[in-house]
């Protein structure tokens, strides 16, 4: 149960590609948190979390997403979500977190939304 994290940049926007599960008790949460801290440390202000390959998330994982959001906000940065799978979308709905996150189905739209 691991989370793979990759980072790339497109037109001044930092895209974090996530693949796997974000749940309690594995190294996954730590990895996401650390990556985002690093990115923000380098001065990134526009961040997209690509959840296209995140098949599973639990309430701890949702907490991690929120933590990413608030950490970024505190440093004047913005976090948006890309390619949220139906299963995860359902959880954002139930928890009303969809009111917190801008979400996109298309990478180009997500990148453009920052300008």
């Amino acid at each position: 149960m691991s989370l793979n994290v990759g980072v790339r940049e497109v037109d001044g926007v930092t895209i974090v590609d996530l693949a796997g599960r974000i749940t309690l008790g594995d190294a996954s949460s730590g990895k996401l948190r650390e990556t985002v801290r690093e990115i923000l440390g380098k001065g990134a202000k526009k961040v997209i979390l690509n959840l296209g390959d995140v098949s599973y998330i639990d309430s701890s994982g949702l907490g991690e997403l929120v933590s990413t959001y608030t950490t970024a906000s505190n440093q004047g940065a913005k976090v948006k979500l890309l390619n949220v799978q139906k299963k995860v979308q359902d959880l954002l709905q139930i928890t009303k977190l969809y009111t917190v996150f801008d979400t996109f189905d298309n990478e180009a739209d997500a990148v453009l939304s920052f300008s």
Partner: protein, 145 residues
């Protein structure tokens, strides 16, 4: 028609037990003919409840057990029980995580998810201590209410 079957396990207070309970319930639901998205939902609800029992309830203690039970009924309905040996808590005292002032908290969404993901849900103090969670997912043929 599903084969009625049931099992009861005494599980250690650790994350592996969470995974085990989730896999077991998913397997029983699949056997009983539940559709894939319902299997996922039930699995998630069981996961959240097991996490609470292991962490908040038993505090990962090697001296405390999680009592897990699952029963498949004739029509495929699936009842799951999860009991811990912790201090217990007052469910009505848990703040609504969807209230605007709580929306940016990094925890507190487990009970909300459990309630939303199964057809029946209850959480109450157990004897002699701890909490008892019971959830029920209707059989695949049952009309959704």
């Amino acid at each position: 028609m599903a084969d009625p079957r049931s099992l009861e396990l005494k599980l250690e207070s650790k994350v592996d037990s969470v995974d085990a309970a989730e896999l077991i319930v998913q397997g029983l639901a699949r056997e009983a003919g539940h559709p894939e998205d319902e299997i996922d939902h039930l699995g998630m609800a069981v996961r959240e409840s097991m996490v609470n029992a292991v962490t908040h309830g038993n505090g990962y203690s090697a001296e405390k057990w999680v009592y897990f039970s699952a029963r498949v009924e004739k029509d495929g309905g699936l009842r799951v029980g999860i009991r811990d040996e912790g201090e217990g808590f007052e469910p009505r005292g848990v703040p609504d995580p969807t209230a605007p002032e709580n929306l940016l908290k990094t925890s507190g969404r487990g009970l909300l998810l459990m309630r939303a993901l199964v057809d029946e849900f209850s959480v109450e103090r157990a004897e002699p201590r701890g909490m008892q969670v019971t959830m029920f997912k209707k059989g695949p043929g049952a009309k959704r209410g």
